[in-house]
Amino acid sequence: MTTYDADGITLEKVRDYVWEIPQEGGMNRPARVLASEDLLDEISDDKTLQQLKNATHLPGVRKYAVCMPDGHQGYGFPVGGVAGIDTENGCISPGAVGYDINCLPGGTEVRLSFGRRTELRNLEGRFEEEQAMVADGDDLVPSDIRLFTQSEEKPVYEVETATGHRIEATGDHPFRTPEGMTELDDLSTGDEVRVQPFEGIDHEEPSEFTVLTKEDFEDENPQLVRVLEDRDVLPLSSTDDEFNHLLKILGFFLGDGSYGGPGQVWFYAEPEDLKAVRSDVREVGFKPSKIYERDRSHEVNGNEFERTEYSFKTTSKAFRRLLVALGAPEGPKVESGYSSPEFLDRLTDWQRALFYSAYFGAEMNEPSAQHDKNLYCPKVSQTRTVGTAEDGFQFYDDMREFLGSLGIETNEIERFETDSNSKHDTVRLRLGVKNDSKNLLRFFSQVGYRYNQKKRRRSVKAIQYLRTKEREIERREEIASEAQTLADGGSEPGDIKAEYDINGRFVERSIWGGRDGRPRPGKAFPGFEEYCEQVEVGDDLAIPDEVVAIDPAGRKEVYDIGVSHEAHNFVANGFVVSNCGVRMMKTNLTYDDVQGREEELVDALFANVPSGLGGGGVHEGTADDVEAILDRGMEWALENGYAVPEDLEHCEDEGVRPDSDPSRVSQKAKDRGKNQIGSLGSGNHFLEVQRVTDVYRDDVAAEFGLSEDQIVVLIHCGSRGLGHQVCTDYLREIEQTHAGLLQQLPDKELAAAPAGSQLAEDYYGAMCAAINFAWVNRQLIMHQVRQVFEKVFDRSHTEMEMDLLYDVAHNIAKKETHEVEDGEERELFVHRKGATRAFPAGRPELPPAYSDVGQPIIIPGSMGAGSYVLRGGEQSLSETFGSTAHGAGRLMSRTQAKQEFWGGDVQDDLREQDHVYVKAQSGATVAEEAPGVYKDVDEVVRVSDALGIGDRVARTFPVCNIKG
């Protein structure tokens, strides 16, 4: 393999121009550099490669982080870097209230995979092996924990809900509410939050023993044994993850599974439940079939009815033998004499709960009202032949013992004689969980039902109902006892009655002692069925609850924790700086029309396009203008006479970012933007009149309306001070809010807000608003250029066909859908930091004008080297999340450039040798931007073309250039 060594970082050559830094250490994915060896020499000269590696530490980065051929060192992320970061909501759900976790005290209960829970502080030192449960509104899924840090003491508050769930958290901990994520500081009593009432069982380490070995399969074909060994289920240990999945499958199978034809194992349930069983089958390395659907007619007591039955099967003989060996014997269950698996009593409570809850999911009836406000005993029952009844009895007796060890009481096992079937005499056995409220609460919140979503949702409602009922009973108990005390002290019954919001009879009975046992919840209290109709449980098993108290709970050490739900998602801030980009405007003029008038043109442009520091803007803006621009982008320009409709049709996103939220842009940023609407700024930003010197693809150039010798105008700038202020504001806010997460990253400038967090949402809204501002900024400059040309050439701009070719940003993070590992389609925040979107024909985001040909890409070069127009390449989607380079990277520092060049000389040389007319506010800027300080843009474009990520269409060369 060809490798390239760059000062401690080794790159492996994948193929021509493609180099990979393999995943290692804290990298979440590999990194790739797209470059020739010459460019690689330049790229490896500064910290670019290290920064690229650092970027892969960001949680949620998919596939690989990519460095474009023009990459160079930036802040945090390298300039020329592209990363696709998963947008899906990732967060962790602590036992009671909450959603995303950050800043929670060590005593907070956290839900872990396999129905376990633990205190947050117990995760220290072993979080990497653990999976926390993540609720994303759609589902509840286990995810790896990626970040775990302890921070200094912070003030914490206790939040209590109407059903008695309590959680302590810092003021900035986000809670899920109907309005989205809301920080604790913004919550008040009476607000609705979503809670997760299921608690699970305390985590404990299982003691290690061998469950199955090769000897258990002595009579089997050696090939079958090899299949099991290959899947790591042989030998099978009590501490294997696979074993935990098998416990669930086994429990469910004993309920609603059966063996079919040779090698087949069938599972029956509702489609959504079967999905979860299938996933467990996959976890142990076997392939489930698709879900089958068939209509069956049944006859019960002479009534015939139709129902649809859903099922899936596995056809691996090895899998079937595995289940048999674990204790699910073949032959009809009724006479097979199965009992509890013999290893069961050696397992931890949470492991036994996996087995039993899966069985309950299949077999136990769901929570329902026995009588208005009381719930039935949830029961399981089974039919056995008389000869095997003892085995069945033993099975239930073990179940009683298990539940008893968790403090859950059961009734005696009942035994009924039944109508015997044709072959055997049978008996029916039944076991129920006692139905007093506290007992049912323990059962539903610790064990409950597994796989069966309907029963799970129902049991969540039951938990909340019983908790509410308990609180009401406690309230009434208190009143009863106080009333009695008052009566004993000589108060009149009439006065006591007036004291409480409760009916008089209740007070009387409390005083006269006419009540046996605890009070009942009262008439107005809803029945269970009525309650169930009032509340909704999400698929993630969260349910609305009401905040009843928020109290300070002192200062405590808190933990920051982050999870990767498929990929925890981050919007990285430091990446996306000024939303700068380029646009190119065409004309029907040729170089002949301009030659001899360059001086006049450059002077007129310089006089009319504000540039440099403090030069104002094309539009004297008001605060309202800034709001409107942030909100509506180019539509504002159109409404105010600065654009024609065709301009919007040729702009990325048609010039309006719909996700913009101006209210998330600070007043400071708006203040800075107000007097910079339509201004170039300085540094590397510029405006250039250019001529087309080369056309490489005639057909594409024709579609774009480009031909040799044609005059075009290129504008390169961004959102100015406003965009920078947005970036600085959020960088500082992320630093303060997510300090713990930040410490885990190798570079502070990689500041990232966890997606799903309020801050990430705010930042995305603000950034989209700044992008709108950037488009308007470039549009107003283009408008100014049209007017200058009209004056200089004495023709209308429509006559000169001064049409926008395209406007494309190269400093931007956008939500886009791309194919990631294993061909999966994911929504990503694609971060392009000094990289240009390069979508080929067919991507739905493209404007109709380019949907069949691919988008134009404009790559500005330095003053002496000219620029390029490319077309989005077919390979960009698979290689670079649809991106290519954005220009020529710097070679030389600004200070060095000023020492080597003098602005006046550079200007003279360019005019005399290259016929390029340059005018700038500052001679220093000209020196700093001299042609010699940039990398060779030709080589950058050659690599882009060879890789097929951006196809070379045309090359342009400057005629006039103005800058700050």
């Binding site: 802040y75 520091l613 403090g614 540094g683 600085t728 500082r732 630093e735 520092s893 500052s922």
Partner: protein
């Protein structure tokens, strides 16, 4: 107090020293002005004052410089001859500062976009304080 402009590939860095925190802050700010303008007039412009607070020293330096960039854009002046007094009370750091604001249209100045945390240093030395700040140009 003194400052130097240091080389940085794409941008510009300021290295400064001062006997006190206030002095080193002022020196970095003067360095920032020098990075924007080669010839700063000795006179002209009016002094303005402002106050910035933050959670620690580095953050305060960052916010202080960011505030000066903001004042520059909003007031349309180049902040020079910077003076700063830095103090801490109850965990909050605060700088009371002033600068002479030279109107931008009377100087030949270039934009400097933002302060960065990149390679930032603010440390105590035998002689006082040392600071290094990179600016995004």
């Amino acid at each position: 107090m003194s400052f130097d402009l240091r080389e940085h590939t794409a941008d510009v860095a300021v290295e400064a020293t001062g006997e006190s925190l206030g002095e080193v802050f002022g020196a970095v700010a003067d360095g920032m002005a020098a990075a924007m303008c080669d010839e700063i007039p000795a006179e002209g412009g009016e002094r303005f004052e402002t106050t910035v607070a933050a959670e620690n020293r580095e953050a305060l330096l960052f916010d202080y410089l960011d505030e000066l960039i903001y004042e520059r854009d909003v007031r349309g002046v180049l902040p020079v001859d910077n003076e700063a007094a830095v103090g801490e009370a109850e965990g909050e750091w605060r700088v009371d500062c002033s600068a002479r604001g030279i109107p931008l249209d009377s100087v030949d100045a270039r934009d400097l976009k933002a302060v960065t945390y990149s390679e930032m240093d603010l440390s105590e030395t035998d002689d006082g304080w040392h600071a290094y700040v990179v600016f995004d140009v």
